[in-house]
């Protein structure tokens, strides 16, 4: 079948120069006409390879068809069958490695912009879609620990089946990484709040300021509820353990982003302070590193450098974030690894780095970087943001010895049911996988909700 060439509809965005100094959302989103136009690019391939690329198998061709014909609410309902947070996933999913990677149109004139259309539909549903109807209550009660995408999705699914759910959240705000990590310019907090309000329309109560394992022992929670789902994420930051890392001006990305996003240090009169670095360096090249770098730029830094020990190809961040970061003027120092930090009067002043080269591919196929002898050099910096990934917080494990965890601190579950080694206690999301993605966390929350419903003797 010959198809007429029609390139991908571009996403309208703020000008890079302008947006690099404000916290407003980078992308404006499609208009209805643009969404219809882009959705109509779908070729409706026989096996829908895109769906295999989606971790939760959203029925992509169907929702695109509905969008193309202007039936946006129908499109929303189709997505809603397998995904609970389309406005969020449309913005933050690494589509280029998932659905859009598999899209057959990629070979013709560019993959269908599935994420952009999904975002449009998600936004449309937030503005126009009805609230979930209240189902008859069953008297069953389930506790959910953590209010990130995993916990919220599990809670919403259970509630939709008439289960009363209490979500315990350690922070003073619900949303997990969506509120304390991912910055406003990429994921507006009002939108996260709207998704939460909608999700929790029915029988979900969120109890903030409650640290499971401290405020309430897990054993006590397990006794009070018919089942427990742990979606506590992977919030423990990793450091490099190199000299000078505890100098003032060296932050973990978690701390930096939490201060700026959750504690609103980006507002001029915020009671929570954050250091204003002029020459900022960010170590790492994942989504978290890109967010930290672009945040530092918006906080008024003169220059921001990404320091990464591997090459461009290996950078784990979403392609769009790397592209946006480059547009905004972030510099990339690739094949470069810090070895120590140097300070003056207790404040970081420079970073000693060594050049790296890529060796032979290792067992996993990744080419592992090796330092080049004698290649040390210094980079001047007054603020360093360490963004080397996170692990699950040992707090839950430490307070609940019965729970089986891996060497890396992740909670061990039966992958079919998401049940832990303790009967009636389930887990999912980053707490189980280690730092991963929103869509996987959401999928895990759904999967667990199904197993919990079964366990409670209910149809899912």
């Amino acid at each position: 079948m010959a198809i007429e060439k029609k390139p991908r509809s571009k996403m309208p965005e703020q000008d890079p120069k302008e947006r690099a100094r404000n916290f407003k959302e980078v992308a404006f989103g499609y208009t209805p006409a643009m969404a219809q136009e882009e959705a109509s690019r779908c070729m409706h391939c026989k096996n829908a390879p895109c769906m295999q690329g989606c971790p939760v198998s959203v029925n992509i061709p169907d929702f695109l068809a509905a969008t193309a014909s202007g039936e946006f609410e129908k499109a929303g309902d189709i997505i809603g069958k397998t995904s609970s947070l389309p406005a969020i996933c449309g913005r933050v999913c690494p589509q280029e490695n998932q659905c859009e990677k598999m899209c057959l149109r990629a070979r013709v004139d560019g993959a269908v912009a599935i994420g952009n259309v999904e975002r449009f539909v998600g936004d449309y549903m937030l503005a126009h879609g009805g609230k979930p109807q209240k189902t008859a209550r069953t008297g069953k009660r389930v506790a959910v620990i953590g209010s990130g995408p995993a916990g919220l999705t599990c809670a919403a699914e259970l509630s939709n089946h008439g289960v009363d759910v209490t979500v315990f959240e350690a922070f003073h705000k619900a949303g997990g990484v969506l509120v304390y990590g991912i910055p406003e310019f990429r994921l507006p907090k009002s939108l996260v709040q709207a998704e939460i309000d909608k999700l929790c329309g029915g029988g979900v109560e969120i109890k903030l300021n409650t640290v499971a394992g401290k405020t309430l022992p897990i054993e006590e929670i397990a006794k009070d509820y018919d089942a427990v789902f742990i979606g506590s994420g992977a919030g423990l930051p990793m450091f490099m353990n190199i000299p000078g890392e505890n100098l003032n001006g060296v932050y973990s990305a978690n701390e930096y982003l939490t201060r700026v996003n959750l504690m609103k240090a980006y507002l001029p009169n915020s009671p929570t302070p954050v250091q204003l670095g002029k020459k900022v360096t960010v170590i790492g090249a994942g989504n978290v590193a890109m967010d930290a770098a672009r945040t530092a730029l918006r906080m008024g830094a003169e220059s921001v450098k990404i320091i990464y020990r591997r090459g461009r190809e290996e950078m784990p961040a979403r392609a769009e974030e790397i592209h946006h970061a480059e547009q905004e003027g972030i510099e990339f120092c690739l094949l470069t690894n810090p070895v120590s930090f140097c300070g003056e009067s207790g404040w970081v002043k420079s970073m000693r780095c060594v050049k790296m080269e890529l060796g032979e591919p290792d067992k996993s196929g990744r080419r592992s970087p090796k330092p080049v002898a004698g290649s040390e050099f210094d980079i001047e910096t007054d603020m360093v943001i360490v963004s080397l990934g996170t692990r699950p917080n040992p707090l839950i494990k430490n307070s609940f010895a019965a729970l089986q965890t891996s060497e890396k601190g992740t909670i061990v579950v039966n992958e079919e049911t998401m049940q832990t080694n303790v009967d009636g206690i389930y887990a999912g999301g980053d707490a189980v996988t280690g730092a991963a993605t929103v869509i996987l966390a959401m999928g895990a929350g759904r999967k667990a909700s199904k197993a919990i419903l079964e366990k409670l003797g209910m149809q899912s």
Binding site: N209, K214, T215, F239, E255, P271, T272, P273
Partner: protein
């Protein structure tokens, strides 16, 4: 939202708050702390749990007004509400291996050692207590300490109450005539450091409570990190109590000054508004 059940002025710039927080009260132990936010946009600030009543569902904290958040807190009347109140965080104090303990509280550090004094009295092994302050008007809980301690020694920098001098002077004097196997010292970092320097010489095991700058208090940001025995530790989840002889004090004191400039500015803004 947590209600302030009772509010009492204890000393110049020090206020005692009895706050309704049933879940915290039920699970609290001496040595743990809470984090609160005064209002919707407030900073997360940590305070030691000074007392708790599981039956009444209340937690008592002692707060010294030193900057923006603590002054803001002091403006909430009795019966008013604190936006957020989370705890108990950190590990309970464990002094069970010691027989003859000397407690030292400098300034607001008295809030941390008071529950210990009480707990030791309850265990039938009341301890000696040194309470130090800059001047008489800053001393607090004198009556309570008298009831809990074996002997109470009051010290002020200017001699306006008790003995004139520093807590380390009194420590030196007492250690010469007593056989302490542990000193538990809490106060401003320079005071804890001075105590540790002295007890290292005297070879007395010393436990300190580190008041590092915190955000989450659950091990998620690393802002509270310090070096203890050459290893990086988080004050909020590995502490707040540590072996004082193993702490890198230069680093800890340096890190406590990270936001000094911003704090000054915040304070000016507030006192400007209040005036």
């Amino acid at each position: 939202m947590n209600k302030i059940i009772k509010k009492t002025r204890l000393a110049e710039n020090v206020t005692e708050y009895v706050v309704s927080a049933p879940d915290v009260a039920r699970h609290a132990h001496p040595g743990q702390f809470i984090i609160l936010r005064v209002d919707e946009d407030g900073e997360r600030v940590p305070f030691t749990i000074c007392d708790y009543d599981a039956i009444a569902g209340t937690v008592t904290i002692l707060v010294q007004e030193v900057g923006y958040s603590t002054i803001k807190l002091s403006q909430i009347p009795e019966g008013g509400f604190i936006a957020d109140f989370v705890g108990p965080l950190g590990n309970p104090t464990d002094l069970s291996e010691f027989k003859n303990i000397l407690l030292i509280g400098g300034g607001i550090g008295a809030a941390v050692i008071y529950p210990q004094a009480k707990a030791l009295r309850a265990k039938g092994m009341p301890s000696d207590v040194i309470v130090g302050a800059r001047t008489a008007s800053l001393l607090m809980y004198e009556k309570e300490f008298k009831a809990a301690a074996e002997n109470l020694y009051l010290i002020t920098d200017d001699g306006t109450s008790g003995v004139k001098g520093f807590v380390t002077d009194e420590l030196k004097r007492l250690a010469a005539v007593n056989n302490y196997d542990c000193v538990f010292a809490v106060g401003p970092m320079p005071m804890m450091r001075a105590v540790c320097a002295l007890t290292a010489e005297l070879n007395i095991k010393t436990v300190v409570s580190m008041n590092s700058i915190m955000v989450d208090g659950t091990g998620m940001c690393g802002g509270c990190r310090l070096t203890c025995g050459g290893k990086t530790k988080y004050a909020c989840v590995d502490g707040p109590e540590f072996d004082g002889h193993l702490i890198d004090w230069d680093e800890a004191i340096n890190r406590s000054k990270v936001y000094r400039e911003q704090e000054k500015e915040h304070r000016c803004r507030l006192t400007g508004e209040v005036k």
